[in-house]
Assembly symmetry: C2
Homo-oligomer: 377 residues x 2
DNA sequence: CCGCAAAATGTAACCGGTTACATACAAGCG
DNA sequence: CGCTTGTATGTAACCGGTTACATTTTGCGG
């Protein structure tokens, strides 16, 4: 009755278990496990022997069993909204290489536009991942707070929220750098094409723009609405050169007094831009800058001769448009890398002070910006 | 002594198991499992009750336990080489949406240039995934055949190999369509900038080009070396307009006789292109076409006035270069979708006849091709 | 040669589901 | 009324690892 355990004739098609290895090596499963995980004390000769048997039998540990037992899956999840291809792949790449180096796998879900759907995905990842890298709109985020998924280590991308670790882009600094560059070229009247209201990146870029403009003596700023699409950039630029109509601040009429009241130090902040055409356009992202470029081309306005144009992001296309776009480059893969690094610390033990890191940006000077034509005014 | 099981004071922090639900609902774990999986016969009232208890307790099944038990992880792996961002994200997107719809998760690993490394990744996915979508160079592929990972359902991208299911792009048809388009515009002397030798896409595109050229009365073809990089496209175009030097067929001098012997029907296949400059350049991918565009611009040759240029892939940039590039569009996401569809059939049961599907392409006419200038010759 | 601490290894109880088989109970039928 | 049949549910043996604790072996001082 004893020798039955050697093999049940049916079943078991190709799977070698730790028990098989133990039996073949003449030791117990515990010893095999110890050898394989290298942790405990095992006599070196035993270890060598077990290892050779394992290799001989082509033993591969069952991941699910290990996960169940030690309660870690060695996998992290990445959840992204509907971002453009280049961004998507760079984030993944960054996390991927860092994660692989640390022995982690990555479970990916992307292209979510609906916050509800995103929550579902997040829930569905429960139990499959040890941690999460998430880029989510504010709505999803607050829902996440209430969810049970919340107890997983989490790193947020491009969202400020001091309840979590986060990696952000230095949008503020990037915008300031660009304005400084334009100022250095001699521009004082600069138009900014804003991004969508709800977008955190857009907000920060706008903030950087506003702040930097205050530092320009005699600076005059103009803010145009936009939503990150090429079309909206086109429209904004057209609007700008169409006439001297003062549609500068379309929506938030309440914002101005609050703004200028808060910081009257700027001195020139109150200047009415009406009538004076800017000499440069700074778009909150490259797509809009490219749209603006088209509009100017359509109107026969030379860039950078008559009008300078700048963007933000340094998408691949920025290099190819005519003229090549001066913009702010962002190292997206670095963001992914850092996100994993942060996560991997939380993976060890929970409850550490939350940190936010910032990825710095780089000014990329191409051909779309030059000194204003009528420098003398 | 009985009431001890209600709670072990330490341990168990937040995890609700199926046993907890069973106990609370006053039924057995088997019943709970049956209710949750909806399969077996359970009295409707019991089901309702169990369901409500489960919800009340916020029960979430442990994925690892289920995986261990039923031997399926509801996850598929995607392994890609170092492809450009847009391609990467589109493939993932295609697989992702299809997979999610079917209740599958996706484990991703990308940007592998080293075949050995790719094999490691493939091995590491063993036990974590129920199937694989892989895009790999031939080298990796043959290694895969020997590996134990081979017993997983597998769908190959862009590789022909009748030992596996595969999804390919209709490179051959796309190239033919482009040549037909050029012929229709009046071109007969067309240069082709080839892709790298080892690349399957490149081979097929070349084949399509050659075949289509045979159908053009009085057609003269010219083949230039290239490696899919913008730089090589630039070099090829420069070479072309540099002089009338006959560097047309650099490497394979043996190819011509075999080729023309096989199909003497073309009639004009043997025409010597030496000395006659083509009126159109067809590059095996958009990057090279864009490189060619730069070269022509540098040489002051008007496109499409003096020379037509066409590409393949329809990368986003193609739309933005000057002039906008006429090219062949490929629906990458569709490839991902179909790959999952194929895979999902194999997931049910193994051993079905292997199938290869082909994604058709679309001619996108923009501004870079026109009738040849000296139509009269 | 004994005793004991340290080192090496074994035993078996988990981890949390699934499911074959056993059991309980109800209805249908001769 | 006893027996078959069928439905609803329970019991417990898996799945394949990990690891606390038990047990055996080894080494060494006395």
């Amino acid at each position: 009755m004893n020798e039955i355990r050697t093999r049940s004739p049916r079943r078991r098609q190709a799977t070698v278990t730790i028990h098989d290895v133990a039996a073949r090596a003449g030791v117990s499963v515990a010893t095999v496990s110890r050898v394989l995980n290298g942790k405990q004390l095992v006599r070196p000769e035993t270890a060598v022997h077990v290892l050779s048997v394992a290799r001989e039998l082509h033993f591969v540990p069952n991941v699910a069993a290990r996960t169940l037992s030690i309660r870690r899956s060695q996998t992290i999840g990445i959840v992204l909204p509907d971002v453009h291809g280049e961004f998507f792949s760079e984030v993944i790449r960054g996390v991927d290489v860092a994660a692989r180096k640390a022995g982690y796998h990555i479970l990916v879900s992307g292209s979510h536009s609906d916050p509800g759907e995103m929550m579902e995905v997040l829930e569905a990842m429960r139990g499959r991942v040890d941690g999460l890298v998430v880029m989510a709109p504010d709505a999803t985020l607050s829902a996440l707070g209430k969810s049970r998924t919340a107890d997983l280590p989490l790193v947020l991308l491009n969202t400020v929220d001091d309840a979590h670790d986060a990696i952000t882009i230095d949008n503020y600094g990037g915008a300031r750098a660009m304005i400084r560059h334009l100022a250095q070229l001699g521009h004082t009247r600069i138009a900014f094409i804003k991004g969508p209201d709800g977008n955190a990146d857009a907000r920060e870029r706008l903030r950087g723009f506003r702040h930097a403009m205050r530092a320009i003596p005699g600076g005059e700023k103009l803010e145009l609405a936009g939503d990150f699409t090429e079309r909206s950039g086109y429209a904004a630029a057209l609007h700008l050169c169409g006439a001297a109509d003062p549609a500068a601040k379309p929506a938030d009429s309440a914002a101005k007094p609050a703004d200028s009241a808060a910081k009257p130090a700027g001195g020139v902040a109150g200047a009415t831009p009406t009538g004076t055409t800017p000499t440069a356009i700074f778009a909150a992202n490259d797509s809009m800058a490219i749209g603006a470029l088209s509009a100017l081309a359509d109107r026969g306005i030379a860039v950078p001769g008559e009008m300078s144009v700048a963007g933000f992001d340094d998408i691949p296309i920025a290099h190819y448009v005519a003229p090549p776009l001066t913009t702010i480059a962002v190292d997206i893969a670095e963001m992914g890398r850092r996100a994993f690094a942060l996560l991997s610390e939380s993976l060890g033990e929970h409850r550490h002070p939350k940190r936010q890191e910032c990825i710095s940006t780089t000014l990329v000077v191409r051909k779309s910006c030059a000194a204003p034509h009528s420098q003398v005014k």
